[in-house]
Amino acid sequence: MKLRRTMMFVPGNNPGMLINAGIYGADTIIFDLEDSVALSEKDAARHLVYNAMKSINYPCEVAVRINHISTPFGYKDLETILAVKPDLIRLPKAETAADIKEIDELITAAEIKHGFLPGSINMMAAIETAKGIRNAYDIAAASPRMVALAIGGEDYLADIQTSRTKDGKEFFAGRGQLILAAKEAGIHAIDTVFGDVNNEEDFIAETTRIKEMGFDGKSVVNPRQINIVHEIYTPTEKEIDHAQRVIAAYEESLARKSGVVSLNGKMIDIPVVKRAQRTLAYANAVGKYKGGETL
């Protein structure tokens, strides 16, 4: 099971951060060439990220957020970065399936040029406008390279003309639609960043909320946020225990060749069994459960 609980942004023009980006345990690191890099630093950041990726062996998925291909930097970003084979290209401000298709073709060409396995470089898109939200499924389904949709923060709020609230009402509509689009396309849904790094309490509340909504992970801006997200995404012992008992009851019913699964006298539907299987697979993926034992 591929985890993307945390996707950590790392400014592409900060050598110290590039060197240490891999040590904090994020599921994915995203080297940013876009919003965190000033216009005058675009070339420097692109070459720093290229050299960091070339020389450092990162222990996790490595993504690069390129500038949009409608800017003067997007194509150059792709040309330079694809040569060092990122795991994932993240396109910001995606609005149409055509954006995705064009980049897909460029990646295909680069894979041939550099002799990489075809299809080995994935893509994800950040949706940051109302138009993008409306096209979210088309974007998600535009290429087999697509592995995730993310909802962008400030740009999205500006576009739908609202601002941040404590309980996240402003993202209600966008998050809801993005989740459905991503799930229909069978890819990950990733939530936006929470910028107030010192506000642990609200960060925990927001992360808990988006996990419950169905998001597969969250973009983070500081290593201190990683463990918090991972903890929230780790199944509890109670959940694991329950899942084990559901699976045991299911297996027993299979052995009995009975179509009815029951646990403690209650009937269990097949979706409940599927959820239990997912819980155990997830617990296994996060290292909390192995071979029938909770760790």
Binding site: N20, I23, Y24, I56, P223, R224, G287
Partner: protein, 512 residues
């Protein structure tokens, strides 16, 4: 001759007596008796309070060639050392050995007296900045002797460091010489380092900015040891003496190191009811205190005692009942000073009680776990905390050797890279603490267990931390930063580093 950590120690070094090479942490067993101060007499109704430092210097009989001492509890807010040295210099006294428990940047003011021959030798725990550069330059006529806090107490008590006159900055002092560190405008808390000086110096001069009527209590340094008292305007700058409550680091790399160190403690086998702990005052140590506190609460474990160098996180644990008692040789912040004043379970102790290897038993021998920082570590687990990447003195040994030797589990924390420099290397420039006494090295990229401690290695397998050999850590560091060229040094020895037992563990040569 080659000593026990592979360092070349000359058989004779001009200005250093009785050279004994370091062999291993506990091999040197001294014989004989402790030394003592000059016999003192004080007749009834005689006056100890004098009107000036100059009078006190005259009364003490200070002459050319003698040894004077100071204590560093006022840290970078200390006025006493500079003030007294100024008077001594004006009096034309020369060729003194300066033996403070440590030196801070504020003491750079005394550099001219080193140039003028007022001070010709230094024995201390360490130095920074320009003072460090001067001590590394070989300019003084004798090599500087670097000692740990326990080693200094030992040297004083066994007579290797004989103090003729001790000048003691006294936050509160009564008219008959009783001293404590918890009252007055320049409070520093524990007087632990000064206690040894007061007990063994031939003459003891208290310098105070808070002279009170007799009797003062509580008493940290008693009237029986104090000869003269000089009231002055100010003995220190409170802002430099103690910081407010230190904030827990927000540096993610320090937090990661702290997290690994805490996990190492948790799974080491020593994390159980009534364990004991010492933490440093560095960023990663303070952060480790917070993580450790959470784990102690979660698992219902309390510690029997905490030791230090005391900082606010320790005080919080004491007040919440997570630590039964704190033993304190020095305070770093205001909450710690307030605590030692009011909390009976917060106990002041001398440097000898803390760490002297040659007494009936220092408290470090009872210590289970210590977290220590490091400038460099090598593949033999030897630690350097005194010289920088240019070979210049820029730190202090402090209690490093003492706690590493005493604690059942000594953990050294350091970033693997500082800027463009690797911190785990083939050979440290200066060995301060021998690798034999270092059990675990924790960096942000991996944790290495000393091969001497295979028991620990087995325990830590469950800790979910990146365990690797120390050579692997070095390789990662070299991969990023390259292998540093050795620092070029001359034949001239600028300083010797004593191990806590008085043997020589290394020498510091002048750089070229």
């Amino acid at each position: 001759m080659i000593n026990g950590v592979g360092r070349e120690i000359p058989e004779s070094i001009a200005g250093i007596k009785n050279i004994k090479p370091y062999i291993n942490p506990f091999s040197y067993v001294p014989t004989g008796h402790l030394t003592g101060p000059a016999i003192k007499v004080n007749k009834p109704r005689s006056e100890k309070v004098l009107s000036s430092i100059e009078q006190a210097i005259d009364a003490s009989g200070l002459k050319d060639g003698m040894t004077i001492s100071f204590h560093h509890h006022f840290r970078n807010g200390d006025y006493v050392l500079n003030m007294v040295m100024g008077v001594i210099a004006r009096k034309g006294i020369k060729d003194l050995t300066l033996a403070p428990s440590s030196l801070n940047t504020i003491n750079e003011e005394i550099i001219p007296y080193m140039n003028q021959g007022v001070i010709t030798a230094v024995e201390t725990s360490g130095a920074r900045g320009k003072l460090g550069q001067l001590l590394t330059s070989g300019q003084l006529s004798k090599p500087t002797i670097i000692r740990s806090h326990g080693g200094r107490a030992r040297a004083i008590e066994c007579g290797e460091l004989h103090i003729d006159v001790a000048f003691i900055g006294a936050p509160a002092c009564d008219t008959y010489g009783n001293i404590n560190g918890v009252e007055g405008k320049s409070v520093c808390g524990s007087m632990g380092y000064a206690m040894v000086d007061a007990a063994y110096a031939d003459k003891v001069v208290a310098i105070t900015d808070h002279l009170v009527p007799y009797p003062l209590f509580p008493i940290s340094i008693p009237q029986t040891q104090v000869d003269y008292i000089v009231p002055v305007e100010a003995i220190g700058d409170p802002k430099g003496i103690a910081s407010g409550a230190l904030r827990i680091s927000k540096d993610p790399r320090e937090l990661l190191i702290a997290q690994y160190a805490t996990a190492a403690i948790e799974y080491s086998g020593y994390f159980k009811q009534d364990y004991s702990i010492q933490l440093g005052s560095g960023g990663a140590s303070l952060a480790a205190a917070r993580f450790l506190k959470e784990k102690m609460k979660k698992q219902g474990i309390t510690a029997s005692f905490g030791l230090g160098g005391v900082t606010a996180p320790f005080i919080e644990m004491l007040e919440e009942g997570l630590i039964k008692a704190v033993y304190d040789v020095q305070d770093f912040d205001i909450p710690s000073i307030e605590s030692i004043k009011k909390n009976r379970n917060h106990q002041e102790m001398s440097a000898s009680f803390y760490a002297n290897p040659h007494n009936g038993g220092p408290i470090v021998n009872q210590l289970d776990v210590v977290i220590l920082s490091a400038t460099e570590v090598d593949v033999n687990f030897n630690v350097n905390v005194i010289t920088d990447s240019n070979g210049v003195i820029m730190g202090a040994v402090g209690g490093h050797q003492d706690t590493a030797a005493g604690a059942a589990l000594s953990i050294v924390v350091a970033p693997l890279l500082r800027g463009r420099l690797p911190m785990v290397i083939d050979q440290v420039h200066t060995v301060c603490t021998p690798g034999e006494t270092v059990d675990i090295v924790v960096t942000e990229r991996g944790v290495a267990v000393n091969p001497l401690r295979s028991d620990l290695k087995d325990n830590l397998k469950a800790a979910n931390i990146p365990l690797m050999d120390i050579e692997e850590l070095r390789n990662i560091a070299y991969e990023f930063a390259g292998k540093p060229d050795p620092i070029e040094v001359s034949e001239r020895i600028a300083a010797v580093v004593e191990y806590r037992d008085g043997t020589l563990i290394d020498v510091i040569r002048t750089t070229v």
